[in-house]
């Protein structure tokens, strides 16, 4: 009986003294340190790891290296983990996926036993489309039956986050087999900064399980000595114009290299015959890995293959102490040192035969092998071989997706019976088996050549290094081909009953591909989309070659003509979180935010900011500003300090009005326009002293304005001016209402009378002992002061002002208050076409100033012509509040749109702003608003609804 462990051996990864305890579907299991989940399960006698996607068939160990979908399990609640690649940890909770109620008793297995013959490709599309009304029901049932694992619905806290790391280097070597190590070593020895990434827990590739582990470790040590950065358990995910993301646990390395070496190796391919998915049928390297790396005795093995690899596998397994029953070699004429070695070892070699059926109920018990004719039919009789494992070594498929993504082409190679990448672009150097240099010595040499080519191309090395490269290259070419000649795999999939799978991920059989071709899906691209062959989690790496071969057979075309498709990134299954990474744009909260929370504010997003929308009583908060005093956090405003002898000159060039004439301590409103004269932002400018201006912008425009200013500053190097963005470092709050002056008086010794701080004064004062810039502006239409102070002191200031009688109010009351004054909200009441003339901001445009300024020519043009739309106020006598964005209509013609609308409690009426055709911009003009089917009558008003002459502001 198989299972258990083999004798100790130098290449093993397991540490026999260190037992690890874990659970599988709740049962406690034991493994060893160094095991993968799969090797521990296998050593403990578990053969079925999962159930298949469609037919819920048993699936077991296949590739042994985390590449296939056979061993997808859920680990500690996270689905989609490949048991055969995932190192075992103590306390792991492993669960199967895709079987209900249990792995052993899966009721969906019925789809295979009963529905099997009735579920050809396209079955679901064709069957469940009628009657249409039942689709929601069908969908519910189908969705719960399909899928690979379940995501947890809720993740209260993300348990881990990915860090991005950007690594620029000279050479990135993808793949740490002998070719990759050799390339990295040579490039590093020539002086290049080299990074090497590999999927396994240590570099070495197939050396590690083919008896070369000491050589692999020696090479890796020499690489490290030469300065190579080696990343393990780190697959390169794809090739993006020279950028290769390398995923390593919770770090995503974005590796940017000047040159790349693709040493990605090859993938052993399965053979297609009935019941070829039974647990126990595994890829030859999978069986070898179990035995060599984890010391697991796979049981009595039969080996089947198409080239020397089958023979090598048999010899390696034999050396490791595994019982090898027979080698079935499809080549009729194999004869070499290997065949002699088999004879010496006493292993039977059958020539010219291939597996025609696997047998066993829950796992492999026997395999039938025999010779087949060109149509795939058995000639004569098959021989039954009792075995626990059938290790298959189909043709080797180069792992070429990185090369193909970079622009290389795949060409069918008759000798290898596989597609080899050709014509790689100059910045990427193929090395080793992926380039057809399969045996260790030529892979080593081709790695050295690739490493030297990459480094020399970057200017490293001397003349003698170039000479050395030339001679090595000549040697490599002279030795080629070092490849193993393979027999074309037999067409043995027609052998009677049972399913012969070409794609284990998606449960696609050879018959399915043939069926799809008969329906007209006879090109690879069409076949793939119709049958979903190659579209499973292993991205066709074990199914592409086989499905292309079947398609070639049924359409009578050579394999080279069928071609292969390029697997898209990512190369391996990556958690979405690993790609999402750490957000660069963090949510922003003002330094006063804790107070808003204490007060039970409704907090909402406003751009990147979390802002207090209201404190639960919009009307009360609004009325408090009218009747007493209110306080709002406006820290989100953009705040820029513009300083230098030419600060005034800069602002004069950017604003359509004059800022250089502003006296220190005074404030002016400014609107910013683009060169096309359209409004881009607005705010206030306060002159602090001769050389210094304090500029505020809208909250949403802060970043854009800062960028706009610095861009023009870069364009005008002759100006002696600097800009400091203090948006985050300076907090601001607006104290407003008739009672605000009294509150201020309580908190400062300064003269706060209307003479002491007049309208549009900007003095710097201590308020409640905190240094503030006080801007007396008409923010919400009542007497008001905007207090700016260092962010860390803002909470103290807020408390002092609030404790003196100001009631906090939120964003929503602020919008009502500002709307009453017809203060525009850029982006809400303006669009990309609105000019200052259209928004009634004529006062902020001074075309009579000498100075040229941004947008001047366009504004001169617009001054002479009426704007297409003009911003007006309106009231709705019926009290309706139209939806913002509702159309203003005349008959069936649209003549404008509502931009803002609110009910104003103080005015006890419904008010709004609208962009309308200029002829309607007359006081009293009646307009009709079409809002979701109803018509609302409204009257135009051109002057502010509240305090139209600004008397309150000035008093």
């Amino acid at each position: 009986m198989s299972g258990g462990r083999l004798a100790e051996n130098g290449g093993q990864r397991i540490r026999r003294g260190e037992e690890l305890r874990f659970t599988f579907d709740g049962d406690s299991r034991v493994g060893l340190a160094g095991d993968t989940i799969a090797s521990a399960l296998y050593a403990g006698g578990q053969r079925t790891f999962s159930r298949s996607f469609k037919y819920h068939r048993r699936r077991g160990e296949l590739c042994g290296c985390g590449q296939c979908a056979n061993s997808l399990v859920t680990v500690d609640g996270a689905p989609g983990v490949r048991a055969c690649g995932e190192p075992l940890r103590d306390g792991m909770q492993v669960e199967h996926q895709n079987a209900w109620p249990s792995l052993e008793l899966d009721v969906m297995r019925a789809t295979d036993l009963v529905g099997g013959p009735f579920t050809p490709p396209g079955f679901y599309y064709k069957t469940f489309i009628r009657p249409r009304r039942l689709w929601p029901l069908y969908e519910k049932v189908l969705r719960s039956a399909a899928g690979l694992g379940k995501l947890r619905r809720r993740q209260p806290e993300r348990e881990w986050r990915t860090e991005y790391r950007r690594r620029h280097c000279d050479v990135l070597v993808v793949g740490g087999g002998i070719a990759g190590l050799s390339a990295a070593l040579r490039a590093a020895q020539l002086g290049a900064d080299v990074v090497l990434c590999d999927e396994d827990v240590e570099p070495g590739g197939s050396l590690l399980f083919e008896g070369g582990h000491e050589r692999a470790r020696d090479l890796a040590a020499r690489c490290r000595e030469a300065g190579v950065e080696i990343l393990t358990r780190a697959p390169g995910l794809g090739y993006f114009d020279g950028l290769v993301p390398v995923w390593q646990g919770d770090v995503l390395h974005q590796v940017r290299a000047a040159r790349h070496v693709a040493a990605t190796g090859t993938l052993a391919q399965p053979l297609v015959f009935p019941e070829n998915d039974l647990p126990g049928v595994m890829l030859a390297p999978g069986a070898l890995r179990l035995a060599a790396l984890y010391g697991v005795d796979p049981g009595r093995c039969a080996i089947a293959g198409v080239d020397d690899r089958a023979l090598e596998t048999a010899l390696s397994l034999h050396r490791l102490g595994v019982q090898v029953a027979v080698v079935a070699d499809l080549r009729p004429d194999a004869d070499s040192e290997l065949t002699a070695a088999l004879e010496t070892a006493g292993i039977e070699l059958m020539r010219g035969v291939t597996p025609v059926r696997a047998g066993g109920s829950k796992q492999l018990a026997e395999v039938q092998v025999g010779p087949v004719d060109p149509s795939g039919r058995l000639r004569g009789s098959a021989r039954r071989i009792a075995c626990d494992v059938l290790a298959v070594a189909g043709p080797q498929a180069p792992a070429s997706s990185l090369l193909l993504q970079s622009g290389a082409r795949a060409r069918f190679d008759d000798t290898l019976q596989s597609f080899l990448p050709q014509e790689a672009p100059p910045l990427i150097h193929p090395a080793g088996a992926v380039a057809g240099h399969a045996d260790a010595e030529s892979a080593m040499l081709s790695g050295a050549v690739a490493g030297a080519e990459a480094a020399l191309a970057l200017g490293f090395g001397e003349r003698e290094d170039r000479d050395r490269l030339a001679s090595e290259r000549a040697k490599l070419e002279a030795e080629a081909p070092t490849v193993r000649r393979a027999a074309p795999p037999a067409k043995s999939h027609d052998g009677g009953r049972g399913k012969a799978f070409v794609d284990l991920d998606e449960d696609i059989t050879a018959k399915d591909v043939a069926y799809a071709a008969a329906e007209g899906y006879d090109s690879l691209e069409l076949s793939k989309r119709y049958t979903t062959v190659t579209m499973g989690p292993s991205q066709g790496r074990f199914s592409q070659l086989a499905s292309a071969r079947v398609l070639g057979e049924v359409t009578g075309r050579p394999l080279g003509e069928i071609g292969v498709t390029t697997a898209r990134p990512p190369w391996t299954t990556v958690p979405m979180g690993a790609l999402a990474g750490r957000p660069f744009e963090a949510a922003k909260r003002s330094s006063i935010h804790a107070r808003h929370r204490d007060l039970g504010a409704t907090v909402r997003w406003a751009g990147d900011w979390r802002r207090a929308y209201d404190y639960g009583d919009v009307e009360g908060e609004t009325m408090a500003v009218h009747e007493g005093a209110g306080l709002i956090d406006v820290s989100t405003l953009g705040k820029l300090i513009v300083r230098g002898p030419d600060a005034g000159e800069l602002l004069d060039r950017l604003y359509p009005n004059r800022m250089s004439t502003l006296k220190p301590g005074r404030i002016r409103y400014g609107v910013l326009t683009s060169e096309s004269g359209r409004i881009s932002d607005d705010g206030t400018v306060c002159r602090l002293d001769d050389d210094t201006f304090y500029v505020t912008t809208t909250s949403s425009g802060a970043t854009a304005v800062e960028r706009w200013f610095t861009w023009w500053m870069a364009s005008w190097p002759e100006l002696d001016v600097t800009l400091t963005d203090v948006t985050q470092g300076v907090a601001a709050m607006n104290l407003a209402g008739p009672g605000s002056r009294d509150i201020l008086a309580k908190l400062t010794d300064a003269d706060v009378s209307n003479e002491g701080i007049a309208y549009l004064d900007g003095p710097q004062l201590a308020i409640a002992g905190i240094d503030c810039l006080v801007l007396r502006i008409g923010f919400v239409g009542e007497l008001g002061y905007e207090l700016h102070c260092a962010a860390p002191q803002a909470r103290g200031l807020w408390d002092a002002v609030a404790d003196s009688g100001a009631r906090p109010f939120g964003l929503e009351p602020q919008r009502i208050l500002r709307l009453q004054k017809m203060h525009i909200l850029v982006g809400q009441d303006t669009d990309s076409e609105t000019t200052p003339y259209g928004a009634n901001l004529d006062f902020a445009v001074k075309l009579d100033k000498e100075q040229d300024f941004i947008g001047r020519w366009a504004l001169e043009h617009y001054e002479e012509r009426p704007p297409a739309q003009k911003l007006v106020g309106f009231t709705c006598p019926g009290g309706e509040v139209p939806t913002e964005g509702a159309a203003i209509v005349e008959g069936d013609r649209v003549v404008g749109q509502v931009t803002s609308s609110r009910r104003a409690p103080k005015l006890e009426s419904s008010i709004g702003l609208a962009l309308v055709e200029p002829r309607l911009a007359e006081d009293g003009a009646s307009i009709s608003i079409s809002d979701d089917g109803r018509r609302i009558a409204a009257a135009v008003q051109t002057r502010p609804f509240y305090d139209p002459d600004g008397e309150l502001l000035r008093s």
């Binding site: 114009d241 950028l243 005008w716 040229d852 300024f853």
Partner: protein, 99 residues
């Protein structure tokens, strides 16, 4: 799209660190004719080849700088602060400054 730009302050960084300011345009001097203004405001060369353009180190130091880039290959030929840009065409960056 993926390539590297050299920030004059911070050195070589991924393109995702940067903001694109578009191709360098020449601001008309004096009062332009309507047609010329229209061209300046709305039209770009959209060149398939080497063009001079603005970039800002958005996720880094915030510096605006100039670059010449081949729009077909994303090869960046040089980057420089406007004052250090190769002189032959450096005028393009600032000649349109309002006087």
């Amino acid at each position: 799209m993926s390539f590297v730009l050299d920030c004059p302050n911070c050195g070589s960084r991924e393109v995702t660190d940067f903001g694109f300011g578009g191709e360098v345009t020449t601001r008309p001097t004096g009062r332009p004719e309507f047609k010329e203004l229209n061209r300046y405001v709305y039209f770009r060369d959209n060149k398939a080849g080497v063009q001079r353009e603005w970039w800002v180190h958005r996720a880094g130091c915030g510096e605006w700088f100039l670059a010449e880039r081949d729009t077909r290959t994303n090869e960046v030929i040089w980057t420089a602060r406007p004052a250090d840009a190769p002189p032959a065409r450096a005028a393009a960056a600032s000649e349109g400054a309002p006087r």
